[in-house]
Symmetry: C2
Subunit: 325 residues, 2 copies
């Protein structure tokens, strides 16, 4: 069995082999730029680790795994245009460094590149892998659309939020695991259990992200703390806070939601965080995260390979839950 580090080393070195310095430069250069920003490479790692559960040789899954990583980075590229985000991983985003049109068109060809990589799936598995990939890709767009829709809605239910993050984040982890499992030769039930493991880890992962956005440490998190609070993002915690706050707490929360004055940013973050603490929504979010994590571990238990083979996936799941960045 390969360790997570060995797996990510394979991913990095294979990703580096793809040539983005071709013509026209204006089209392909931004792709190389985006991919050089790094990232955890969790999706291709999950694909190869799932493959490795059933096969010593993970080579047949590499191209499809890279396709998922290129697709993920494409979604970041286009999301950054839509969110008018100027910085990612400490560097200017593509639409900032170049312009919107470049970001749109390079993103488009990046999506095509992800399909070209996925198309290198071994023939026997090509059709199901391709169909799952397209279904997943469409779901990610649907998740992004719901995310945008929720911004303009007064009320969003916790369940709707969870469905949105399932689409926007979790399905690609599930897709990576199932794809790797299939190519490794897994049976349908094992592949489905790994898919469900990915969904539940993905949901827990996103709730962790929401928690870090409020309670994280700026230096290690790599983003400004309180970003979600400042833009009134209807996260799992804010949705619950809006439900639970009564009387003066409700009034205070509503007051801060109406404030967008940049001079009051620090005060707003502090006040809303205090309300979150008082209302116990941090604990509610942590409990929900734990709930999905426990479900994920149960899904992994159900996979019919020797228990010690699952060690690395379990370790990775733990790491994603206890991470600070």
């Amino acid at each position: 069995m390969k360790t997570f580090d060995e797996i990510t080393q394979i991913v990095s070195s294979e990703l580096d082999k793809i040539n983005w310095t071709k013509e026209p430069r204006g089209l392909y250069e931004p792709i190389g730029y985006v991919l050089s920003m790094g990232g955890k490479r969790i999706r291709p790692a999950l694909a190869l680790m799932a493959c490795n559960l059933f096969s010593d040789d993970v080579t047949p899954a590499i191209q499809s795994a890279l396709g998922l990583e290129v697709f993920h980075n494409f979604t970041l590229l286009h999301d950054d245009i839509m969110d008018r985000a100027d910085v990612r991983r400490g560097r200017p985003t593509v639409h900032k460094k170049w312009n919107d049109n470049t970001a749109i068109l390079s993103g488009d060809v990046m999506q095509i590149a992800s399909y070209q990589l996925v198309a290198n799936t071994p023939a026997k598995y090509l059709k199901p892998v391709l169909d799952l990939f397209s279904k997943t890709a469409a779901e990610i767009c649907e998740g992004q659309q719901y995310d945008v829709d929720f911004e303009n809605r007064d009320e969003v239910k916790a369940e709707e939020y969870l469905e949105m993050i399932r689409l926007k984040t979790a399905v690609l982890l599930g897709c990576a695991l199932k794809t790797g499992a299939w190519i490794g030769g897994a049976g349908e039930e094992d592949a489905q259990n790994l898919y469900d493991f990915g969904i539940n880890i993905g949901l827990a992962f996103q709730l962790k992200d929401d928690l870090l956005d409020v309670y994280g440490d700026e230096a290690t998190f790599g983003k400004k703390i309180g970003g979600d609070i400042l833009c009134n993002k209807k996260t799992f915690m804010l949705i619950h806070a809006l439900e639970l706050a009564k009387g003066s707490d409700a009034e205070e929360l509503q007051k801060w939601l109406k404030i967008s004055d940049e001079n009051l940013s620090e005060a707003k973050i502090e006040a809303v965080t205090s309300l979150f603490n008082k209302l116990g929504v941090k604990a509610i979010c942590e409990d929900k995260m734990q709930f999905f994590y426990t479900k994920a571990i149960a899904n992994l238990e159900n996979v019919t390979v020797l228990d010690n083979k699952k060690h690395e996936l379990r370790k990775l799941a733990d790491k994603l839950m206890s991470r600070n960045d």
Copy 2:
């Protein structure tokens, strides 16, 4: 053999069967809107006609043919954002009717939808069809990038322009024909001859478009005449005019290229058109169009099916060359 009209009827009715009224509405509604705008449906028609050369039953090629049409319309959607075009086929474009973010995201999922349709290619042909489709899709993005690059360059050679329109327009016609031919059971040489037929018809088609943009009739063309002249688009005609104009003609051409005053639009169109006539670049463009048309017909001749089977494709090629819209 099915006639072109019979073929386009199949395309229309099959395209109408796809459901775009699903959730989230904000994501899928613009796709239905774009496809309802109509268009000549030339790409799927070419695919089915090529299939029909080798097989009475064109059903196996329908899904892939629709994928090409959806992809084509996706490129129009994203191109319209980049070109800040507000109107297409007499109706507001998606980014105008909704907004840029909607146009970006709906376009993204439209590209995925085109892959989902192409993935329904019969298993035997899936891999080559998929690879050709991705290669073609990337080439179209490359063509668009060169188109943008040329705007910011002082000098563009006629050859470079032809390569740009080959990528931006012709390869998708070639791809449609080759895909249909493969699925119909064609041998490699016939499929390649049909691909080349598509490339040459595509080049002639675009030169015809350039001619119509200057010499067309506004009512039938459906767009304002002189649009290319007003934005100094380095078309085949302008490139040649810049090469051929000497002395006072050159001075006058340069003078008009510097003028962007909207009050002088009519005068600019008239003056540049007169220079085109004087310099004979209309005839040069028509000759080049004829050159590619002749090559296309020769490619079609080389396809090893009974001559009368090629009648409809020849008629369509004629129609595209003599069209006024």
